[in-house]
């Protein structure tokens, strides 16, 4: 079909103007993403391939030492390479503790969210306020507060001693359990908020319809309530799991040096360890683990959707 050249030209001019307009609209978001996400990540990747400086920092020059140290230790006696089992242990503990934190925030968060969402609308804001108050408090202060509760001479032990349930104070600090308690407390709101939103959005007339259609309460929960709340539960779990995996303030205060997590390991390299390339490589490793888990989950969810739908 013969085309009018001028019309075609003006058409493409319009298309170009449209493209320009879209880019300019996306510019603020792109700037923020570049500055706050891609750039720092790039710096970390670059650092992980450099040489460690004497007093911390990095020296120019390509080196795989940082990455080597993530996976392999140098044997103390003969300088041969052996797997860095300490790192593996810490990674395993981090993942387990993050999973356990997610599970505990789930166990405590769902009933809490349910309770709030089923209050009269006027009082819901009040309950939400109570849930979010700790969130406005400094993380350090919150962690020290929970420390105060489970310390050897803390509130809980004094209470148990006073009631005669125990004769000697329980040693709860500086254990994996202490880290778990602290993290559950700190991350609970992150589970409650999205789950609350999902429950609040849930149309209770659907539960009534299920009940009318011969469903028992349990059947209704399984077939109607849970599937519709699922996105909220997933969002809450992701919101808790990811920061819990990289947490370091709470594990440090509650776990001391004994129950170290990946975040503390990274912290160590940038502090006393003065091994920035290793710290950077450890950070990237954590990022990759998280991204890997997310991709796996997204794939699975997509597949589940395809088979269900």
């Amino acid at each position: 079909m013969p085309r009018n050249p001028t019309a075609a030209a003006s058409e493409s001019a319009v298309a170009r103007a449209e493209t320009r307009r879209r880019w300019s609209l996306a510019l603020p978001a792109l700037t923020v993403i570049t500055l706050c996400s891609i750039l720092p990540l790039g710096v970390m990747v670059a650092y992980s391939f450099m040489e460690a400086g004497q007093y911390g920092n990095v020296q120019w020059g390509f080196s795989l030492e940082g990455w080597r140290a993530v996976f392999l230790d140098r044997d103390f006696f003969d300088d041969s390479y052996i797997p860095a089992t300490a790192h593996l242990t810490i990674l395993a503990r981090s993942i387990l503790l993050a999973l356990a934190t997610t599970a505990l925030t789930f166990v405590f968060g769902i009933p809490t969210a349910w309770f709030i969402a089923t209050r009269p609308p006027a009082t819901r804001a009040y309950w939400m306020f109570l849930i979010t108050v700790p969130f406005w408090t400094n993380l350090l202060v919150r962690t020290i507060a929970i420390q105060e509760v489970i310390r050897a001479d803390g509130t809980l032990n004094r209470l148990l001693l006073a009631t005669g349930l125990i004769d000697e104070p329980l040693q709860m600090m500086f254990t994996n359990g202490a880290v778990l308690v602290g993290m559950t407390y700190v991350y609970l709101p992150l589970m409650v908020l999205p789950v609350y939103a999902a429950i609040e959005k849930f149309d209770f007339r659907l539960a009534e319809a299920a009940y009318d259609l011969h469903a028992s309460r349990l059947y209704c929960l399984r077939r109607v309530v849970l599937p519709l709340m699922w996105p909220g539960i997933v969002a809450g779990s992701i919101l808790v799991f990811i920061p819990a995996l990289g947490a370091y303030v709470t594990p440090r205060l509650m776990g001391g040096g004994r129950a170290m997590m990946w975040g503390n390991l990274i912290d160590l390299q940038f502090g006393q360890g003065r091994n920035w390339p290793l710290g950077a490589a450890l950070s990237i490793t954590l990022t990759l683990v998280v991204v890997g888990a997310m991709v796996w989950y997204a794939r699975r969810a997509a597949k589940g959707d395809a088979t269900n739908g």
Partner: protein, 358 residues
């Protein structure tokens, strides 16, 4: 057969208590299309929810086939509901929605698929069986909600204003289809509406409710022709009310010569007299009739007939219908005088309104 005996429902307690239903007595027959009709807030939904089991009665009994079902929870009652909001499960397909009631009840899986197919065929939704319920028009959702409630073969189907969200045309069509379906299945329907046309065209019998009490239970024709009181007369169709006096077995209306009482009527003293606009005769009528003079106040053309509003000599207004057929002889003009006749046998005496009028 469902027997509703002195059923009452009170919400709340103490000062904030609200009596939503006051001693309702109705017997609903097998295979009947029974309609609950009344203005907003009169307790229709409450009565339906009591039958479904979502609310507990404060008093009275609900007897289904000789058994009191008041204490049976909703999931064990042989009754299903079509909700006003449809309440379809948004994460399920049409077929999954329809299968839900059967699955929940533990029906043999081999029987579920054919039943779902059959019922989707009946409501003409088979072609959309794999569609998500959130991706359908209002009319389609309506059909799925109906199919879902029918699938478990309820003894009674409850429908709470199922058509109120549809536009007029679709609504008319669904009215027709619902009625056809009910006849074919021979199923008992309890249908809630506040639309009197809908009630009149679809129902075998109608219960007119107001303020938590039953005003009248009757078939559409009786409700229209012999309303039990002024509320029913006004709620169903259009009505003219005139005040009159009965003395010595004769009725006198607005100072006119006394006429004999309409057939079967019995009253004395001041009465409210009701006549439907289409019963008013232009000019004079043969036989027993009350003749009234007035002035035409307004004329509204409505196609088949003209709505005439007449201002009577005593100041009351009277509306009537003048048919627009080609052999109509009278022409009307606003402001002109007009003589009309009210045939005695079209007059209805509403004696129980004496108290209200006083």
């Amino acid at each position: 057969m469902l027997d509703i005996r002195s059923l009452s429902k009170k919400f709340g307690s103490g000062d904030s208590a609200f009596q939503a239903l006051k001693s309702i007595d109705i017997t609903i027959e097998e295979g009947e299309f029974f309609t609950l009709l009344g203005p907003s807030g009169c307790g229709k939904t409450t009565l339906l929810r009591l039958i479904a089991g979502f609310e507990q009665p404060s008093g009275g009994q609900l007897v289904l086939d000789g058994k009191d079902i008041a204490t049976i929870p909703p999931n064990h009652r042989p009754v299903n509901t079509v909700f006003q909001s449809y309440a379809l499960f948004p994460h399920m397909t049409v077929a999954q929605n329809v299968a839900f009631g059967l699955e929940a009840r533990g029906t043999n899986p081999a029987e579920i698929a054919p039943r779902v197919d059959e019922i989707l065929e009946i409501v003409q939704m088979a072609h959309l069986r794999d569609r998500k319920s959130s991706q359908m028009s209002g009319g389609q959702q309506q059909r799925v909600a109906l199919a879902r409630a029918l699938a478990p073969r309820p003894r009674i189907l409850l429908l709470d204003e199922p058509l109120s969200a549809l536009d007029l045309k679709l609504r008319k069509q669904m009215q027709f289809e619902l009625k056809r379906l009910q006849r074919e299945l021979g199923l008992t329907f309890i249908f809630v509406t506040h639309d009197q046309d809908e009630a009149l065209t679809m129902s075998d019998r109608i219960a007119v409710m107001d303020g938590g009490t039953l005003q009248q239970v009757a078939d559409p024709r009786t409700l229209y022709d012999h309303p039990a009181n002024r509320f029913v007369a006004e709620f169903i169709g259009e009505a003219n009310f005139l005040s009159g006096t009965v003395a010595g077995g004769k009725l006198s209306l607005s100072g006119q010569a006394p006429v004999p009482l309409p057939h079967g009527a019995d009253a004395s003293g001041p009465v409210t007299v009701m006549i439907r606009p289409e019963q008013v005769v232009v000019g004079s009528a043969g036989g027993n009739a009350v003749t009234l003079d007035g002035q035409i106040e307004a004329l509204v053309f409505s196609g088949t007939d003209t709505h005439v509003t007449l201002r009577l000599e005593n100041g009351d207004t009277l509306s009537l219908r003048a048919p627009n057929n080609s052999h109509a002889t009278t022409t009307f003009a606003e402001g002109e005088p007009l003589r009309v006749a009210l045939p005695v046998d079209a007059l209805r005496l509403l004696p129980e309104d004496i108290a209200n009028a006083a």
